[in-house]
Symmetry: D2
Subunit: 427 residues, 4 copies
């Protein structure tokens, strides 16, 4: 199923009067503050978030999985699903491929298919956290860190191969997330693991095309439960420094210990020009991979404040950040879940754009935390949904993507097309 | 494969001289303190820990699973594996069944098989956290708490059925662990969920034989990531109170928020006579389900201190506690892992038995925390392994179960018998 | 300094046009949804939050304190400060007294003074976490839990005395917060501590007037760092049950382990009719005592959702909840900080009042978490500040209390009156 | 009061027979494993831990302080107290000075006094977390990070002054711990704060003598409760790199978020040659500053394993680590508390020295986590107290320092000398 412009227009038509009135009031409100709403809308629409190819199916936990229906059965159908999301939101203009779950058999055709949805290929993702059927050397005890040269070589070669696939699709970056670590004290030597990982990454880095970037992701635990080789941004930064200028850190919101001040990490990495990628999700306990903004929307706003201000004051020449949603859709319809995540991102971004940076800088200089809080709250409390909707309207997307998705009975259609018991490839 | 007495004896023979000398010194050391080693050994051997039927296979995470070889293919082989563990340790004299993964087709034969290994059947476990193939009403959005009467009834009936299976095998208790909860704010009404769960439990409780107990387990999160219906001991206690005298709380070491003082919960529940079951494992981050004592052995010792003192001063008539190991064996050989867990339990128990309660009570009365710490450390720093080995020796178990397991090439034998790629039924 | 109606009116005059237009739009928006704004405003204005007598001075940490100026020098000036806050906000119509820091020498005069500000006396607070100068028996090792009968008796008598002070002022409840606990394993016997605390509370309870309530506060750690006698709501509930019908639990937002689902605790306690008091603050790490809503405004909204729905569906006859702000003002002007906290409470309350309970109940029944999230977000994203301002306007308070505070140069006036280096009595 | 050799000898005499027999058995046990006990003892005795000058008085929390008696009234008496500890343990051969609490008026005399106790001066500590009486520019909103040039200059000058004091006493390093941070989102600009801190540290670094080191401490929160400028080792490492070769990171055990794998951080910093200082304490919740080893002795052992192995395989030329105990003695006698901490350090160190590194390396290479655990447990379960006592005996210290302290009625003597209500200078 594809959603065409006529369907979007029909949906928008129904809500247009109300929206027009609301947006008029909102833009008047902005005008009074001397803010140009057109400029805001350009910035909002410029932020495009990649959808990973593994996100279109129902996720699960170690305790099981409750599949929904109409899940995509192959890469083509996954791209179609991202296409649906992008048609509804015009906020998800990229797809992030996972290898080996989604190896493109015919890269040219896959690229055309994506292009037909207005999608490009963002970072490619390697997978060394599972053994593939028939794999000669296991990753059970590590991949890039492995003390077993064979496993290590396999993992390096796999990453190089992933770069090759990416080149064929027009990707410009590879994301390395390592499950490597230990579940028991003494299981491995921390230093050896770290240095072997560094050496492996450097080898992969040698195969990076000149215009590519490597993103090094960190995570404190899971699937290993005593230690992870790249446990925090400090380790990721050490490795990126070791590799070279094209290596950057990747921040995933769920990959932090309880109470971590993530916005400060974002500010630090941007300040030193080493923030390459950013994975959105939300969580209350660990790497819960819930819908973006569903648990801690204020934290998301504070992070966007750092992203907005940081890129606007980009003294360290940080490259444009590769944004992706990395969540698990265990209970909600995956497409609806991604739409809600995109909406939360848009809202947080729009609110961050409203922050009066000059007034804030003055309050900070005057050591006036009460006023600084008022300035942040002024932006956060503002209902920016008219602005976000207008941004979509101007881009040909749906005023309310989730309503439109339901009105068009997209899932029902997908079930008709694909069946009730399909299972997305991958996890 | 079975391990016979002769094999155990042969192993013990080799290490007997060294052990005899070490134990002589140790018991002399105890004598000087006026402690009777025979008495300690009786207490150590009296503590038997159940092995759950799902623990004999390789565990996994949502990111995958790296199976080992020789895993049990059916309930009979699972019982055989527990039998191996018990032969080596004489510490695991019970098996805790999981329904529906391990439904006994012929209960009489299963009971005989277990008896031939010296095993009895401890608490039976229901499973409403997964849908079984062909299940008419899903547990995706809850079981005993469900707002869907059909799902709720199914879950109640399943628990009643589990009691029936247990009766046939001689079990005297049922453990109810609920995955029920929500992953998003607003997904369900907290109060309705709680009260429906209460009503469901009361219905199951009606079917509890007069000499049975019901254990109500709590857990703060996972597999749901916003809330769990029975999130803490307070909720478990409220439900147990609502059901009646035969309902008790069950503490699982891994089911707590970061930094929880678990030993205090144990003390409280024992003090009010409501501690029914106890699940051992260890963890650093969440419900990591690692080998007992592998991460926080001092916490384990402090918990055993509460268990030992609490049951010795059992004013509230708490029933004997049902002990079980509830861990996941993702990287180690499951049998070795369980042997190490049993050893850690034995060591913590033995050390707790060495605490000088009278001196401690005096230090407490005198508000002398430094001395209290000395008293605990005196017990904890003592190397009790000779005592633990002697307890095994007297019971016909191996001086060093893990060495014996490796010497006898048990896993190699099991692989020969069962094959390299078998997968344990269940998760 | 007192703020009079004319000053408030002058401030409001300046902002009235803008407000009137904004509120008109907002109430029109409500009307379209069939919501009566007058009714909302009544509910908003009905929620009054007590200010504790220790909150008017600069707070500190164990590392020190950076005092501001113009701090109140005695109880009278503290009441004046609460009067200022109430004049500006009409949201803080009560004061919560701390004994012995703020013993009223002449209760009648103190009561009159408070009444002249429109203030009543809410729960009185006892203090057994510090030794007072010349105190014969120390609380160093516990108060109501103490193994020292003298200390325990002193603490009981102190609480009874606090009730007496409260009676003179018209209070109807006492809040018992205990620092009692241990900093080292073995320091005390958990069970004895718990049962002595229970017995002490029961003794105090005997002295509770018929129309009074006792609130039992819990906290997992600090100032003790290994255990707290009343570590969680389960323990608090056990104690309240032991005392009787007039004993209730008190929830303080900062008194939870990392990641605790506090809104669920609120729902549970309301569901069983045992939520007596509620202390507002915010925190990122521990009991940080920051301005309400400054860190986790969405959590605050979710909690208010439970409070609003719970009291509207009060099947268990929970009494009206005693609300108080319990924060520490280390960096901000205490009065400004409290004003910001009151604003955050008003906003969260107003948003919670906007939740469409019927639609939510349907989404819950239909197992539609995506829709449930939309319903919550619809309320949360709404900019309710016009409504909150109108509520103040109708009550004779300032449209923008913090602006009014600054325009009137209240702090500068207080410094003139009281000096730059005064220190509030108490901590 | 001083403790002389005769007093130590008399104490040892009483326990010598038992000890001699126990140590003989222990060293025989070592011999059988091919371990040279003399070598172990040298290593144990070589590890000397500094006592900070602020540790000799009773500590407190923001809720108050329960002073003991006989606290040192000035720097001289603090040095005397460290002398007492060193006489009893011969494990605390250094004192770490805090400026401005303990400014030596006559450095020569102070140095002589320390030397008379066998003490040297380890790292000096600056204090910019408090305003001193009459201070012209406040640190309320930051010191080295301050946006106020005056405050920032004051803090830089203070650190330079601290170096000067240190030079006079023979110190070779300065520890910079910054309380700088924010308690509210928006209060300061993360990047500006970080870069100003970097620039301030670089300025201080310019004044570092050629043979000195600078230690940069990190901490995630407290006394600020939203962010700390140097929140983690990654930030500390960035700053140390920015300053130069003589700048190193300092790890304080209590300065980590819940569940942090600290031993891995130690391994990483040692692996890259940047671990300068290490502060011992223990904690369950936050920076609880409890006695070393009183809560998590196994973690301490694992950390010592990294320290021992890391320094024995010091490929990155990490300098000798400056060890210090940084705890708060709120309930115990400070001297007893420090003695217990030193004992826990000695025990953890001795156990770590027993780890069979070769066998462990093989188990790691063979991916045998069960065996690796056995190897660690073999060391950890060993009762090394005879070895630790022998190390003390050979060094002229007390077999049981805490017993000796009590036998000699040291505290009673100090109370006689100094009075019951003295308060240590500083906090």
């Amino acid at each position: 199923m594809r959603i065409n412009n006529a369907q979007i227009s029909a949906h928008n038509e129904l809500n247009l009067n109300l929206h027009t009135r609301q947006f008029a009031l909102f833009s008047e409100h902005l005008e009074q503050k001397g803010i140009d709403s057109d400029n805001l809308i350009s910035q909002i629409n410029a932020l495009q978030v990649a959808i990973p190819s593994w996100a279109l199916g129902t996720g699960g936990t170690r305790f099981g999985r409750f599949p929904g229906g109409g899940e995509p059965r192959n890469l083509e159908e996954k791209i179609d699903d991202v296409g649906l999301i992008h048609a509804l939101t015009k906020a998800a203009g990229a797809i992030s491929l996972h290898i080996p779950w989604d190896i493109p058999k015919n890269p040219g055709e896959i690229k055309s298919l994506a292009a037909s949805h207005g999608l490009i290929f963002d970072a490619v993702n390697s997978n060394t956290f599972q053994d593939q059927s028939g794999q000669l050397h296991s990753y059970k005890f590590g991949s890039l860190c492995s003390s077993d040269d064979n496993s290590r070589k396999l993992a390096i070669d796999h990453n190089i191969e992933v770069i090759e696939y990416g080149k064929q699709l027009g990707s410009k970056s590879i994301t390395v997330w390592l499950a490597d670590g230990t579940s028991f004290p003494g299981q491995a030597n921390f230093r050896h693991n770290l240095f072997r990982t560094r050496d492996s990454l450097k080898e992969i880095y040698q195969h990076l095309p000149a215009d590519w970037q490597m993103f090094i992701e960190y995570k404190p635990y899971e699937p290993n439960f005593y230690s992870t080789v790249i446990q925090d941004w400090g380790t990721s930064h050490f490795l990126a420094q070791s590799c070279g200028e094209k290596a950057y850190c990747l921040v995933d919101l769920g990959h932090h210990l309880p109470n971590t001040n993530i916005e400060q990490i974002v500010a630090t990495l941007l300040g030193i020009g080493k923030l390459g990628g950013f994975h959105f999700n939300d969580s209350k306990y660990g790497d819960d991979d819930l819908s973006v903004g569903s648990i801690k929307p204020y934290q998301l706003f504070l992070i966007f404040h750092e992203l907005v201000w940081g890129m606007a004051n980009n003294e360290a020449n940080n490259p444009p950040i590769a944004y992706m949603i990395d969540a698990s859709h265990n209970l909600k319809d995956p497409i609806e879940d991604l739409i809600q995540s995109l909406e939360a991102i848009r809202i947080a971004h729009a609110k961050a754009l409203l922050i009066d940076h000059q007034a804030l800088a003055e309050a900070q200089q005057n050591h006036d935390p009460a006023l600084a809080q008022e300035i942040l709250q002024e932006a956060f409390q503002t209902d920016v949904r008219p602005l976000v909707r207008e941004a979509r309207l101007r881009n040909g997307a749906a005023l309310s993507p989730i309503d439109c998705f339901r009105e068009l009975k997209v899932r029902e259609n997908l079930i008709d097309e694909r069946g009730k018991t399909t299972i997305a490839t991958g996890l």
